[in-house]
Assembly symmetry: C2
Homo-oligomer: 325 residues x 2
């Protein structure tokens, strides 16, 4: 692919990793509001400037709360494509639309670790082979979306197309909820004091591992996705309240245990991947892309003619069909 003029605004762990991943292949400029971070970026060989003129793609990688301000600053009439790396997509999409960027905004979320932070933790290898969500809405310019997808796949990312709403719902289920349940379990164990601590073993250790994440990061990822997470959490509370009622009465938790066992197996027993090729000029491309993402599939390569990817082969799978990272 040809060289793209990329600007990365915000050089935390993810933004720094993105800048360093793109830098060998593209014309990359970076900026951060923190002078010490800018100095560190310069020492890492990055080109630091706040001049975005002539940029093809701006990657907004600031903390979520700063994104609306950055996005509103990008609302020129013939500006660049805008993407971001935030862990929640509906609020950023709303901010982009409010800034008049609807058509040329492509929400992004590289699925990489959140346990460390800061430019010092940036590592381009973190993004190698990572699933990288790119959101596609009715008002997203498809050519712009494909340009961002080409940039990401060219850097080794696996682009999963979905909507901001579907992303946030899934994210609530597989990231927000596990963090909340883990912290609640750690609290319940702590109330049990040293006796409970002495008896605790594998199930408690595994269940509380992500409670070791910095509380500010947990709060950011949960609070940032509050609408979807509140809904998913309410659903899970109802499930657990049924279990409590069964225990308090004469019932059994067997139905819940069975459903959980089946869901876990379906997830863990990944379906084999099958190759997918989409014609770039097909009139149904937007729908085909969203169907690919809904099936858990992703794109590995975007060329000027075709899109190449893979999705789980659910036809022969015992599980729900999942393309393992």
């Amino acid at each position: 692919m040809s060289t793209v003029r990329v600007a990365v605004v915000g050089l935390g762990m993810i933004g720094g990793s993105v800048a360093r991943r793109f830098a060998p292949h593209h014309d990359v400029r970076v900026w951060d509001s923190d002078p010490a971070t800018r100095t560190a970026a310069e020492h890492a060989g990055l080109q630091v400037t706040d001049d975005l003129a002539g940029t093809d793609v701006v990657v907004v990688a600031t903390p979520l709360e700063a994104m609306p301000t950055v996005l509103s600053g990008l609302s020129t009439s013939d500006g660049p494509l805008v993407t971001d790396v935030g862990s929640v997509k509906v609020p950023v999409l709303a901010a982009a639309r409010a800034a008049g960027l609807a058509g040329r905004y492509v929400g992004g979320h590289p699925m990489a670790g959140v346990e460390r932070s800061g430019f010092a933790a940036a590592d381009p290898e973190l993004l190698a082979g990572a699933v990288w969500v790119l959101t596609l809405e009715d008002d997203t310019d498809l050519a712009g979306w494909l340009a961002v997808a080409e940039l990401v796949t060219g850097a080794g990312g696996r682009v999963l197309p979905t909507t901001a709403a579907a992303h946030d719902e899934a994210q609530a289920r597989i990231s927000g909820l596990p963090h909340l349940l883990s912290t609640a379990l750690a609290v319940a164990g702590g109330i049990g004091g040293p006796l409970a601590g002495a008896l605790a073993a594998g199930s408690f250790r595994d269940g509380t591992r992500v409670a070791g994440t910095r509380p500010e990061l947990v709060a950011a990822l949960c609070d940032g996705n509050r609408v979807a997470l509140a809904r998913v959490l309410a659903e899970t509370l109802a499930e657990l309240a049924s279990a409590r009622d069964a225990l308090a009465g004469d019932g059994s938790v067997l139905p819940l245990a069975t459903a959980g066992h089946q869901a876990r197996r379906a997830w863990a027993e990944a379906a084999p991947a099958v190759g997918v090729t989409l014609d770039r000029d097909t009139p149904n491309l937007r729908d085909d892309l969203l169907a690919l993402g809904a099936a858990g599939g992703s794109l590995d390569a975007v060329t000027s003619q075709q899109l190449h990817g893979r999705r789980p082969d659910v036809s022969g799978s015992p599980g729900q069909g999942r393309l393992r990272p």
Copy 2:
């Protein structure tokens, strides 16, 4: 220590492991209601008989639901000491008292894995260094308790003294609750379908690991401890409902995340162990033993003069004080 005449009734994974662990050092007889299991035990060199005459200690290792029947069969006037290996203690204590065994019943729970089952999975090494709860109630005969403790420590177990009620409460917090939360998380992820499955990573994987346990085992350990678990689960539901309210309103999950983070760190950062020696003839021995267990401590050796163990040194510890297995 001298040879003890031990009978093990029930040769599942734990009962089989106990029999094989004691067999090299003691006069061990075993029994199981299943003929094929009896044959397997004979092939493993164990002495199979249903004659318990002259036994010093009977270890009841049947499934929980069979224990009341076995216990009532042991209610002769001058019978042996009776212990068990069930994962819940209050119901077994009640059955022992109902069978007139109160004084000579010592509830036991070796903290060993539950993921496998059957005599074929029995492994004496499973119990090497394991924390082994022995319950001590107001009506437990202390000399009998010490005899069982000597047997267990002589086989390499670490005896943690506590009451049946305190055990079941702790067990609800560190085993029943993690299993229920894990299954609920797996269900919530499954509802998200292939998209959620494709985005799921470490936090979901760790949080759902024990949902892979056989549902019948999860149901047995949860249903068997229904009173304590329903109470602990209700407490956790209230905690999570607060988080949901914070998300649905304008609040933050930061307080929960902070409390969970602190509890997890306190647990994971084990206090160093300090040695403990108790005089066997001290008039406060019963209270001293329960205090040791409440502090997360345990006994490594029981002799005719003294009891040697260890407990967390909470004086210099940043955490809640925990003696790591």
